[in-house]
């Protein structure tokens, strides 16, 4: 089942790809990560994670059409697959369950 697990950075990337819907490629992912999570990651690290996610079947990618900017080079776009969405939902469910437990104990304010 290990391939069904998500690392912390993997989870962030996966969520980022989700929020970017149709515009998820290297540059936008990097910028969103920086803006939303204040995380500075190299393009290499992002692609490494995306590769891993793709192998696990959580994202799929395709190469877009030629662009006028960036020297006419194409972009590789990413999209979350249904199993990717499922694993995100699972992660969220587990977290929310645990947080509710904290609320019940009246400890949430301490965190």
């Amino acid at each position: 089942m290990s391939h069904k697990r998500l690392g912390e950075f993997e989870e962030l990337i996966l969520l980022t790809v989700c929020t970017l819907t149709d515009d998820a490629y290297g540059v936008t992912i990097k910028e969103t990560l920086h803006r939303e999570a204040n995380r500075t990651a190299s393009v290499g690290a992002i692609y490494a994670t995306l590769d891993r996610l793709e192998r696990k079947g959580f994202v799929e990618s395709w190469v877009g059409g030629a662009t006028a900017v960036r020297g006419g080079r194409r972009k590789r776009y990413y999209r979350v697959t249904s199993s990717g969405l499922a694993v995100l939902a699972e992660v969220r469910r587990v977290r929310e369950h645990l947080w509710r437990g904290l609320d019940d104990l009246g400890l949430a304010g301490m965190v």
């Binding site: 290297g26 540059v27 393009v43 290499g44 490494a48 891993r52 900017v69 020297g71 194409r74 972009k75």
Partner: protein
């Protein structure tokens, strides 16, 4: 969204793009390149171009690394094969363990030594760089030209400069006067329970002291600590000595000066752990305290007893300030007849390494020594690198077949280069690790020799670690590049046929050149060490014109001590273990003679400013001075006190007196006002060395003055074999006359030796480094010799079968090395001679490096090298030829 300019498109550095194209997987190349370019373009709008370039390069490298890491899961890829290179390299190193050991140990030793030396150099160079505005901080020193005497370069100047600096000199931002109390005869401190200590490192300083010098305080406010009269700053160590705790603020000590005592209150404690500075002190009291004791002091024009420091405003020129001061001083001091002075502004951060003026707070180091040691460390590294290169190229024949095989199996040249570089980096890496393990073990010994207190933390600073990594990569590249480029260029067919050996000729010449270079470096060091040791021996054994053994010196610190002097002397003379006792204004090695004017009746000058040595009739007896003409002073002739002079040879020569005895002259001196003494020369003493052998003997006039105003030191010549008893006796005598003051004594010989501490350190450091250098060079030679012997096994076997003797074969193997050593020596001798002459110029009295020292160095090198080569040659020569011929 952010602004993304379309035109003109800035392009990333081409080499980085190339790197990306070479290493990124093809499937990913286009999109990644696009992403990076897009980000790069945005970055160029946000930051300077080079910033963006750097970022781009970083991204490329990281991408390739990530890409590579991912690739590890897919062993079928054509990636960098890093793991494979390492595996093969490790196997190889393990297989040839002796070779690995020679390389790793040589590198480890040299890197460890280099690291220690660099830490030493860094420490030496870091003096006084921690003060705010250190680049604008200057000490005002003065060059004084007395009449008819040599220029005096004094580190100190007149305290009366202060008002000018504060008010009238543009460009001065802040200033502070510092006065070492030692010149006023030292400071005696008394605790509340009556214990007294003499403190040599006692300073007085203006309240702005901590504004200029950022010594860290563990207690007290630096802004106000030196404001009030009676304020006292001390170091943590001193706080513990006097109060048993570092929390000493508010405690009091009594400062004793002649009959007066001044209570001092601790207002601050300086951290023991402070950055290095030329300003050595244990105590700093406020200048206001000094002025309360000696009110005339602040306005002194003639006398230059204080160190004056100034921080200039940004942009102000030190040359202009110095010229301004010089002009003002000449205008104002002309009226009081002060000698010509020129002021010099010395950058404070350069004092420790470059200032060799009179009256430094503590003797400074010399920048030349820092350069010399750096060069030696560099030489050491080069020698270890050469070992590595030599052994690697020598082994290349053995590996030629491996290379050929790899090529046949499809290895590309780039891969082979990387393979060899991996081995090279592995060895340097191992060397580095071993060096790091070695450093803590060597550090205490190094500190003892170098007189430093470097801690491991000082050594392993980020910059030092960066330097180390750089060094390792550099050495790895340098040492690995030759075999990597050379071996990888083999033609596989020729190698496999076994004919590539002919290609080894050029390599052999190259190896021999490197061996010559190595041994030339070793020879330079060895001869240099020899000359340094010779000079040190010369210094310590040269006839100084007086006998320094068995002489104890103790200072008289104030007028009360001086009053009791005659009685003290009489008592000392009574003791059976005392040969003679004498007082004097100064004794050899202690400096501090005063220069006064003299007027000879018949001489080649009308008047002369000359160093005066006010002494006692028994002075010549205590110091075993040699009277070469006329007579000594005599206690039995009271007129000697008023009318007699002794001159030294230098003074007689200076005045052109062939026969000084009987010459009439007048001499000034100061005793509550100027006094002119008329008299005649009664004798001439052989020149004796009053200062270290760095400086020439100057003309000295010796005479007697009563009362004992000038007697600052008492010197006692002993005749004893039981030193502890004698010293206890001296102390008892001292206590009878000066009960209030501790008995402090110095042995003249050890004090004199201390004048050469910098040279002694240099000679020891140099000696050890030379041994290491020679060892590493011989290690390499040993490896090379064993390889040569092995390579010629078959030839030796055939020769033996045909009747060659063991000695004949040994000669064959050794002869070549001897020729190389000879060439190395021929190269090294003139270089060393020139270098060492320059070092010796620092001494007014020095040895002439003779043939003997060169011969001895040559002998040592040859002997050690022969041992290294000979053992291998012998092994090859006595081996049973049958094994040799069956070889292969």
């Amino acid at each position: 969204m952010k602004k993304r300019p379309v035109t003109p498109p800035p392009t990333p550095p081409r080499w980085a793009v190339k790197l990306l194209r070479r290493h990124a997987p093809l499937a990913r190349l286009e999109t990644t390149e696009g992403d990076l370019e897009e980000l790069y373009a945005w970055r160029t709008t946000q930051a300077p171009r080079w910033h963006a370039d750097l970022w781009y390069a970083k991204e490329v490298v990281l991408f390739c690394l990530w890409h590579h890491r991912e690739r590890a899961d897919h062993p079928t890829g054509h990636g960098i094969m890093l793991g494979n290179y390492l595996t093969v390299a490790l196997r190889h190193l393990r297989k040839y363990a002796a070779y690995t050991f020679i390389n790793v140990s040589g590198l480890a030793l040299s890197i460890a030594c280099a690291l220690l030396v660099f830490a030493y150099v860094q420490d030496e160079r870091s003096y006084d760089r921690f003060h705010p505005g250190a680049d604008r901080l200057y000490r005002i020193a003065e060059d004084v030209q007395p009449r008819e005497a040599a220029m005096v370069y004094d580190a100190r100047t007149a305290p009366a400069l202060a008002p000018w600096l504060e008010a009238e000199t543009p460009g001065v931002e802040a200033m502070a006067r510092v006065m070492a109390y030692e010149v006023l005869n030292g400071a005696t401190l008394r605790t509340e329970d009556g214990q007294a200590f003499h403190e040599p490192q006692f300073l007085f300083a203006d309240s702005t002291f901590f504004d200029l010098f950022a010594f860290p305080l563990v207690a007290g406010d630096p802004a106000t600590a030196l404001d009030a009269p009676g304020a006292l700053i001390l170091t943590e160590a001193m706080a513990r000595k006097y109060f048993g705790t570092a929390e000493a603020v508010g405690q009091t000590l009594t400062f004793q000066n002649d009959e007066t005592t001044t209570p001092l209150t601790v207002t601050g404690v300086v951290a023991d752990d402070r950055p290095p500075s030329h300003m050595a002190f244990d105590f700093v009291s406020s200048f206001a305290t000094l002025l309360a004791l000696e009110p005339w002091f602040g306005g002194s024009y003639h006398w230059s007893p204080s160190y004056v420091y100034a921080r200039l405003a940004p942009g102000a020129s030190p040359g202009v300030v110095a010229a301004d001061l010089t002009t003002k001083s000449n205008e104002r001091w002309e009226t009081v007849g002060a000698p010509d002075r020129t002021f010099v502004l010395q950058p404070v951060s350069s004092i420790h390494l470059t200032s060799q003026r009179e009256n430094e707070i503590v003797p400074n180091s010399r920048v030349a020594y820092v350069y010399i040691l750096s060069l030696v460390a560099l030489g050491l590294l080069v020698i270890a690198c050469i070992n590595f290169m030599n052994l690697a190229t020598a082994r290349s024949m053995r590996r030629a077949r491996e290379v050929g095989m790899r090529k046949v199996l499809g290895a590309r040249r780039g891969q082979l280069i990387r393979q060899f570089l991996a081995e090279s980096f592995l060895i340097t890496g191992l060397g580095l690790v071993a060096a790091l393990a070695l450093v803590p073990a060597l550090l205490p010994a190094f500190n003892a020799v170098a007189g430093k207190s470097l801690a491991l933390a000082d050594l392993l600073t980020p910059s030092m670690l960066l330097l180390l990594v750089g060094l390792t990569v550099g050495v790895g590249l340098l040492a690995g590049s030759y075999p990597a480029l050379y071996l990888s260029g083999f033609q596989p067919l020729r190698v496999l046929k076994g004919t590539a050996a002919s290609a080894g000729r050029g390599a052999r010449a190259f190896r021999q050149g490197l061996v010559v270079f190595q041994f030339a470096i070793s020879a330079v060091l060895l001869i240099g060490t020899g000359i340094i040791y010779q000079q040190m021996h010369y210094i310590q054994t040269k006839n100084l014109g007086f006998a320094k053994e068995q002489v104890v010196v103790f200072p008289l610190r104030d007028a009360a001590d001086q009053q009791n002097y005659m009685a003290l002397k009489a008592d000392l003379q009574q003791r059976p273990d005392v040969v003679a006792a004498s007082g004097a204004a100064s004794v050899p090695g202690f400096g501090g003679m005063y220069a006064f004017n003299m007027v000879p009746e018949q001489a080649n000058v009308d008047s002369l400013e000359v160093l005066n040595l006010v002494a006692d009739p028994s002075f010549a007896e205590v110091f075993n001075l040699n009277i070469i003409a006329g007579r000594d002073f005599s206690e039995d002739r009271p007129s000697d006190f008023d009318q007699a002079f002794l001159v030294n040879e230098a003074l007689a020569n200076r005045l052109g007196w062939a026969d000084p005895v009987g010459q009439k002259m007048e001499a000034d001196f100061h005793l509550r006002g100027y006094i002119r003494k008329q008299g005649e020369v009664v004798g001439m003493v052989e020149d004796f060395h009053f200062r270290s052998l760095h400086s020439a003997v100057e003309p000295v006039l010796i005479h007697l003055v009563r009362p004992s105003y000038y007697i600052d030191f008492v010197a006692v010549r002993l005749a004893t074999t039981d030193l502890p008893t004698t010293l206890a006796g001296l102390e008892a005598t001292w206590a009878r006359f000066n009960p209030s003051r501790p008995f402090e004594y110095t042995f003249l010989d050890s004090h004199f030796d201390a004048l050469y501490r910098a040279e002694q350190r240099l000679s020891q450091l140099f000696g050890y480094l030379t041994i290491v250098t020679l060892f590493i060079a011989c290690l390499g030679l040993f490896g090379l010799a064993s390889f040569t012997a092995e390579q010629r096994t078959k030839e030796i076997g055939v020769r033996k079968v045909l009747g060659a003797t063991v000695s004949g074969i040994m000669g064959l193997l050794v002869r070549n090395v001897l020729v190389l050593l000879l060439i190395a020596f021929v190269v090294a001798c003139p270089i060393t001679y020139i270098l060492m002459q320059r070092w010796l110029q620092d001494f007014a009295y020095h040895v002439e490096p003779g043939v003997l020292i060169f011969a001895a160095a040559a002998g040592i090198t040859f002997a050690v090298a022969l041992l290294a080569v000979g053992s291998q040659a012998l092994r090859a020569a006595v081996a049973d030829p049958i094994h040799a011929i069956r070889h292969e």
